[in-house]
Amino acid sequence: MLSKRLIACLDIRDGCVVKGVNFEGLREAGDPAALARRYNAEGIDELVILDVTATVEARRAIDATIQAVAHELFIPLAVGGGIRSEADAAAAFDAGADKVSLNSAALADRSLLTRLAARYGSQAVVVAIDAKRARGRFEVFARSGRVSSGRDAVEWAVEAERCGAGEVLLTSIDRDGTRAGFDCEMTAAVASAVSIPVIASGGAGTFEHFHEVFTTGRADAALAASVFHFSEHAVLDLKQFLWGKGIPVRC
């Protein structure tokens, strides 16, 4: 049976791991390669590194950081942040990424998803959707949550799948860094509308939050940052908790 994945996210700024609340107020959380080594040893299922300021400051995720992180891992690594073109994606793959995550660039030009899927396969193309509740729907924001796209998350996820995306990384801006729990309603709405896996992100605070998002949220994977970074909960403890609740996890 396919396991539910636990994914640790490293938000990178200037080569360091940082963590913010509601996409603002970033603080430092350590060296990316050291954290990657720790997570790999603790049994995390996958790692995502996001250059959180890349799009805004027109920088691509630093290849050296990708290389240093990839060097520590024998698990999948996804890279996002500032990937705007096939050349940007190629650089990320060359540095050791297994998947690239596209957000603002895909909103601006959905054919980029199609071109990357044709070249690298859908399994290597993740569409990252940042959304918050507004006007009675799940409104999609671009450029690190700064600019509304005017689109709905469910509708955009369906279109991104059709364009070639192989996974959806769905982040609740409302819940990001709050530890108030995942937005299970939004996650379930997207997960029920697409045939590709959905990774829930934003709001993880307790073990129970993960249980909720894998059941009522219908998520295929759950991503967290601070809940893992600051060692409040070991990955193994969380997996044992989920296993006890009947959720299939890799042990």
């Binding site: 049976m1 024998f74 060359d94 297994d98 192989g166 045939s195 295929d220």
Partner: protein, 203 residues
């Protein structure tokens, strides 16, 4: 020296790292003629089966010649699919054809309980003892990411289930294939790569 065949289907950084961790000495041959001195061959690859058309010219016959000479061959993911005859993903592209059968698309469930691509850690059901999976326990979890899969045949040594049952690992004499990514499958994956490297030493 193991030959890691780079035909442009995805990046090989992870495979290189995995082979190095498994203790392999390897190189990327510039062309099919460079396979002559190889003690083993790895065909990696992610993405569309059509990418395997890059193997059609010189590589396919050179690899077949080496296999006939007893050199171990490991196909990973798309590389495993290429060991079969054809794929529904690219019907015009011929596989190596050492394994009998056609690669088929996996089906998503209409209620969204089975998602495609099949992405993540799934468990192996061991069908019979094999060299490639020596030391791997029943139920061991490995990392998959694919939308097409090989049928279960006489060459299947482990299956996996995702909507339906498919070949997770195949073995025919010294030809091995794994649908999952051993280089992304933690300790279990590294053990599988070491098993292949050991086969190359003893070939």
């Amino acid at each position: 020296m193991i030959a890691l065949v780079d035909y442009g289907a995805g990046n090989l950084a992870s495979v290189r790292k995995g082979l190095a961790a498994a203790g392999a000495r390897f190189h990327a041959p510039a062309g099919p003629a460079d396979l002559d001195a190889s003690t083993g061959i790895v065909v990696p690859g992610v993405g569309n089966f059509a990418a395997a058309s890059a193997l059609a010219s010189g590589w396919r016959s050179a690899i077949a010649d080496r296999v006939a000479a007893g050199v171990p061959l490991l196909g990973v993911c798309l590389g495993m699919q290429w060991l079969f005859e054809t794929s529904a993903e690219a019907p015009g592209v011929a596989g190596l054809g050492i394994m009998k059968g056609t690669i088929a698309r996996m089906e998503a469930a209409s209620d969204r309980t089975i998602k495609i691509p099949h992405v993540g850690w799934n468990s192996l059901s061991i069908v019979r003892p094999s060299r490639i999976l020596e030391g791997i326990d029943e139920g061991a979890q490995v990392y998959f990411t694919h939308s097409f899969a090989a049928p279960v045949t006489d060459d299947t040594v482990a299956t996996c289930e995702h909507g339906s049952t498919f070949s997770a690992a195949v073995e025919l004499e010294r030809v091995f294939g794994v649908q999952f990514h051993p280089e992304k499958s933690g300790d279990a994956g590294l053990r599988i790569l070491r098993n292949f490297v050991a086969c190359c030493r003893n070939a």
